[in-house]
């Protein structure tokens, strides 16, 4: 059985990262449901989930056939690329260099896009809405699937990581059903900053293990890596903020 020290980072990374993605998918499905009705939007979202689950069910078992060192190396590198891209963007958003992600604005843009698509194709809202919900769930779900596989597959923690992701889905759906509007008050950039830190730390850890590096402290090395990436993210953000402040003065 996996120790808590190994499972906790995987569960929390999967929970937080999936939460961010599910909030984005929820905004798209909500926009689709607002114009096309809940039935079509729910059908589109369900079809997207079925496609994702089918893909994972087919591809998941193949991971067992990949040698563990190679799996750790490939997943580690992909995590580094993915996590550092998130962390870079979150640092730039924190510095005010690029605008914060605004779920209300995304919702308005999705509604406008849906109206334009329905007009262009001279078709009913419900079909376009269903397709929009389907695509939203598939595209955002791809990232959730990757994150779950990436943080879970290297150490046989796929089930705990999946549970973390499912908990995030359930939380977003419950809150979304209650408030019935885009979840714009979720501190998305803070979450993305934290997730970028965790995924980057996992990336260095798995890449190193794949290269045959025995990290001191084993799983606890993840905490040190996370602290260092957090510091680097903050430093980058402070440096990025400086020139614009000087210009303002």
């Amino acid at each position: 059985m996996s120790s808590w020290s190994a499972a906790a980072p995987a569960i929390s990374a999967a929970f937080l990262a999936s939460g961010v993605e599910v909030v984005e998918a929820f905004t798209i499905v909500l926009a689709a449901a607002t114009l096309g009705g809940w039935r079509r939007a729910a059908l589109g979202a369900a079809a997207g989930l079925v496609l994702l689950a089918g893909g994972i069910a087919v591809l998941g078992p193949l991971l067992d056939r990949v040698p563990i060192d190679l799996l750790q190396l490939v997943i580690g590198i992909l995590l580094l690329l993915f996590g550092m891209t998130w962390l870079r963007k979150a640092s730039l958003r924190a510095a005010g260099v690029i605008p914060l992600h605004d779920e209300d604005a995304v919702f308005a843009a999705e509604v406008a896009q849906l109206e334009a698509a329905a007009r262009r194709r001279r078709t009913r809202f419900d079909w376009v809405a269903g397709m929009m919900a389907f695509k939203g769930v598939v595209l955002e779900g791809l990232e959730v699937a990757f994150i779950v596989i990436a943080v879970g597959a290297g150490r046989g923690l796929l089930v705990p990581a999946s549970l973390g992701a499912l908990a995030a889905c359930a939380l977003v759906l419950v809150v979304g059903a209650i408030v019935h509007r885009p979840l714009s008050r979720v501190p998305e950039n803070t979450l993305k900053f934290g997730v970028g830190v965790m995924l980057s730390a996992f990336g260095v850890f798995w890449t190193g293990e794949g290269l045959g590096i025995a990290w001191p402290g084993q799983d606890f090395a993840l905490l040190a890596f996370a602290a260092l990436f957090l510091g680097a993210g903050f430093s980058g953000s402070l440096i990025a903020r400086k020139p614009s402040m000087e210009i303002a003065q």
């Binding site: 580094l80 870079r88 190193g208 590096i213 680097a232 440096i239 210009i247």
Partner: protein, 70 residues
């Protein structure tokens, strides 16, 4: 077909959203691997270089990002 194209675009954007950042990270990983494989460097020392390299790449990538005009 459009959906497959969008999925492909999404996957590329996930890992190669910033081509320069991605290439630099891949270079750091390749450098650490080469040091272990052919340089005879202690794996832990190469791991230290991997970690420090990634941190430096991140800070540098944020620092050199274009600022919006005011």
């Amino acid at each position: 077909m459009t959906l497959l194209k969008e999925i492909g675009t999404e996957l590329v954007a996930m890992f190669l959203g910033d081509a320069r950042l991605s290439l630099t990270v891949l270079s750091v990983v390749a450098g650490a691997a080469a040091l272990i494989r052919w340089g005879g460097v202690d794996p832990l020392a190469a791991g230290g270089l991997l970690l420090v390299g990634c941190l430096v790449v991140l800070i540098e990538s944020v620092r050199r990002s274009p600022r919006p005009e005011r």
